[in-house]
């Protein structure tokens, strides 16, 4: 997994609550047997019309957000289905950080397996980012830097500086791109002992 230490990119605003994983990647695209190639189907029903043509009003179809690598959105992002295709689609599109006031549990866990940071901030801080986007030059958009080492989000001029909290284990996972299975297999002897002790 690719480590995530510091990331700077354009922030796309998608201000709706409860965006579910069916919306992030509709089911007709779950039939692939690879982890890649889901980016073009990200937010499919919002991004494309029924004729398959891009919907010019949808944020990710409008420059500069076509190049967005950070998404700021409403609370309870990623609710619904457990499909890991949702973080795969976000990553494949180029998103490395999603900022919201809250995330659904399974989606949150899934992100860290893929080097995607679901960044939780209090709603007023999320609202400040939405405001900063509105005030930014519309041709360039707002650039934010997310520093996973210092646990800080800031804009280029440091007018906006927001610290954030992250579980140290998950921070470590991102910083070093750690593979969970390899970490668990270090405890192989404990697992075997558990199975023997409990007759499993």
């Amino acid at each position: 997994m690719e480590p995530l230490v510091r990331h700077r990119g354009v922030v796309a605003p998608l201000n709706r609550p409860n965006i579910d994983t069916d919306q992030i990647i509709p089911k007709q695209f779950l039939k692939r047997i690879e982890r890649t190639g889901f980016g073009e189907f990200l937010f499919y029903d919002w991004r494309y019309g029924e004729d398959g043509k891009p919907n010019p009003e949808f944020v990710l179809n409008r420059p500069p957000y076509t190049q967005a690598s950070i998404l700021v959105t409403g609370p309870n992002f990623g609710c619904g289905s457990s499909r890991e295709h949702a973080p795969w689609a976000l990553m494949d599109f180029g998103i490395r950080v999603v900022i919201a006031a809250s995330f659904a549990d399974i989606f949150y866990q899934n992100c860290f397996k893929n080097g995607l940071l679901p960044l939780t901030l209090p709603q007023p801080e999320v609202d400040r980012i939405f405001q900063a986007i509105e005030q930014a030059d519309p041709s360039t958009g707002l650039y934010l830097t997310v520093d996973v080492e210092r646990l800080l989000v800031h804009d280029d001029r440091h007018q906006l500086e927001i610290p954030f909290a992250l579980d140290p284990y998950l921070q470590e996972t991102l910083l070093h791109g750690l593979d969970d299975i390899a970490r668990t297999l270090k405890h192989e002897a404990l697992i075997a002992a558990y199975e023997a002790q409990h007759g499993k």
Binding site: P17, N18, D22, K27, E34, D45, S102, A104, E195
Partner: protein, 478 residues
């Protein structure tokens, strides 16, 4: 190993008993490494996990604790025909090859007991009290109905469990959801869970494992408890569960994978001991007043957007919070609904009776009771998709297929079907469906499709009238 030692007499919840028993490694400030007793696998969320194993040269640690079923994208039409969708067929073939390569039991498309993974698990007795159960599907909480800790995981975690038979996760908090008072006439488990979600919201239980308690829960049948636990995820919960009791034990007796003879009696004692101790404390307690529950119908694009059958579509102009009002406007625009429309005046085009929420024998029996001797409204296209081959054959033995067919319903082969529309069973844009499934998200049942979540009885009644009706008016009073 910093195991938390508890005094023997400290009362514990069902969740705590199962969790404590499965912890392998715990350190302060770190997520817990814990053991998984049963891993259920299906064709859609597993291919990348098996591929990951192969690339890393890893094996499946415990194929004997792994069980695979094809359900998500299987056709529900004639099974003697080849699968028309080449990509779905590839996913099914991939699962079959993976199961063969790694030595995993599989109920494939042609197995007589094939069905929806969350119907098959309990039905086969694979699901047992005190177990930790995972599956790459968020409705795994269903298995909590027998007193197991069961929850959905992503594909990377599927790979992790295949490789290690363990998971690494932070310990969730516990929430008691207490249904207070007796069950009113005409109220189902579906109405109870929809009422809860309406009360606490779709993220009301995020970070928690719910235990459902109260006399109304004790009085539910095992299949009804499955409906209740199934939609825990729609309240944001990691899992939902019910303490095992004699009903649980009797449900499991004689099931193919349940212990037999003396082993069953020994298991019975062990299972009952998992029940939450009197005086055990939960991190949070929520009470739901049973007397306020009537048949429920969702009106929006999230399961929390729900009202009573005697209610109306909400009016965003009457909502003070501007953010919430905007959400209601979005939802009503998608759903094509006018504010203040009585729920009973909403016309229906399609009816779907099925899904891991409501496709078991009792669900079909209750729907059939409403349908018997009547006809589906001429505008409505209605279908019943039994949850498994076992359910289908039992229903047919009772003549339920005839009741549904004579009324004008289609009677299909088992699978997830129109709950998520991965196969050919989808809504057309603008079509409105009364569905016994679990999610009314935009596009869930097909792009532009409009889903209203209801109980099987309510879906059956809507099929007959072409609009929602209060099913209590059709049911014989006790």
């Amino acid at each position: 190993m910093a195991m938390v030692r508890r005094l023997r007499h400290t009362p514990r919840t069902l969740f705590e008993k199962i969790w404590d028993e499965h912890v392998i490694f715990e350190e302060p400030g770190q997520p817990t490494l814990f053991y998984i007793d049963l891993h259920l696998v299906h064709e859609v969320t597993s291919p990348q996990a098996f591929e990951g194993l192969r690339l890393a040269g890893r094996r499946v640690r415990r194929p004997d604790r792994t069980f695979a079923v094809m359900d998500h994208n299987v056709p529900t039409t004639d099974r003697s025909l080849p699968v028309a969708d080449p990509i779905a067929r590839q996913q099914m073939d991939t699962l079959a090859k993976n199961c063969q390569e790694f030595g995993i039991r599989l109920f494939d498309l042609h197995h007589p007991e094939q069905g929806i993974v969350h119907v098959v698990g309990p039905e086969q007795g694979l699901t047992q009290p005190g177990m930790t159960i995972v599956c790459g599907d968020s409705h795994t909480a269903t298995h909590g109905a027998v007193g197991a800790l069961a929850f959905g995981i992503g594909t990377s975690e599927v790979e992790h469990v295949l490789a290690t038979q363990c998971l690494v996760q932070p310990k969730p908090k516990t929430m008691e959801v207490r249904f207070v008072g007796p069950r009113p006439f005409g109220v189902t488990a579906k109405d109870m869970i929809l009422a809860l979600i309406g009360q606490i919201g779709t993220s009301g239980a995020t970070g928690y494992v719910i235990e459902y308690t109260g006399q109304a829960v004790r009085d539910l049948s095992m299949e009804e408890r499955m409906t209740l636990c199934n939609m825990s995820i729609e309240a944001g919960a990691r899992a939902g569960m019910v303490s095992p009791d004699e009903k649980t034990v009797e449900y499991l007796r004689g099931r193919p994978y349940a212990p037999k003879g003396e082993a069953f009696e020994a298991a019975r004692q062990r299972w009952l001991a998992y029940a939450t101790d009197p005086g055990a404390r939960f991190d949070r307690v929520v009470e739901v007043d049973m007397s306020r529950i009537v048949p429920m119908v969702t009106w929006g694009t999230s399961p929390g957007m729900v009202t009573t059958i005697d209610g109306k579509v909400p009016d965003p102009d009457a909502i003070a919070d501007p953010v919430e009002a905007q959400n209601v406007r979005y939802a009503l625009r998608y759903m094509g609904l006018e504010p203040n429309t009585p729920m009973t005046e909403i016309p229906i085009d399609r009816v779907f009776i099925g899904s891991c929420t409501n496709s078991r024998l009792e669900d079909l029996e209750r729907a059939a009771r409403v349908v018997a001797g009547k006809k589906v409204h001429p505008r409505v296209k209605a279908m019943v998709v039994p949850g498994s081959g076992v359910v289908k054959r039992m229903a047919e033995a009772r003549g339920l297929d005839k009741i549904f067919r004579e009324a004008g319903f289609e009677w299909r082969e088992p699978g997830c079907s129109m709950c998520l529309g991965m196969n050919a069973d989808i809504l057309q844009p603008g079509e409105r469906c009364a569905s016994t499934s679990n999610r009314n998200f935009e596009g869930r049942q097909g792009r532009g499709g409009r889903t209203h979540l209801v109980s099987p009885e309510m879906a059956a009644a809507a099929a007959l009238y072409g609009h929602f009706v209060d099913v209590r008016e059709l049911l014989p009073r006790p």
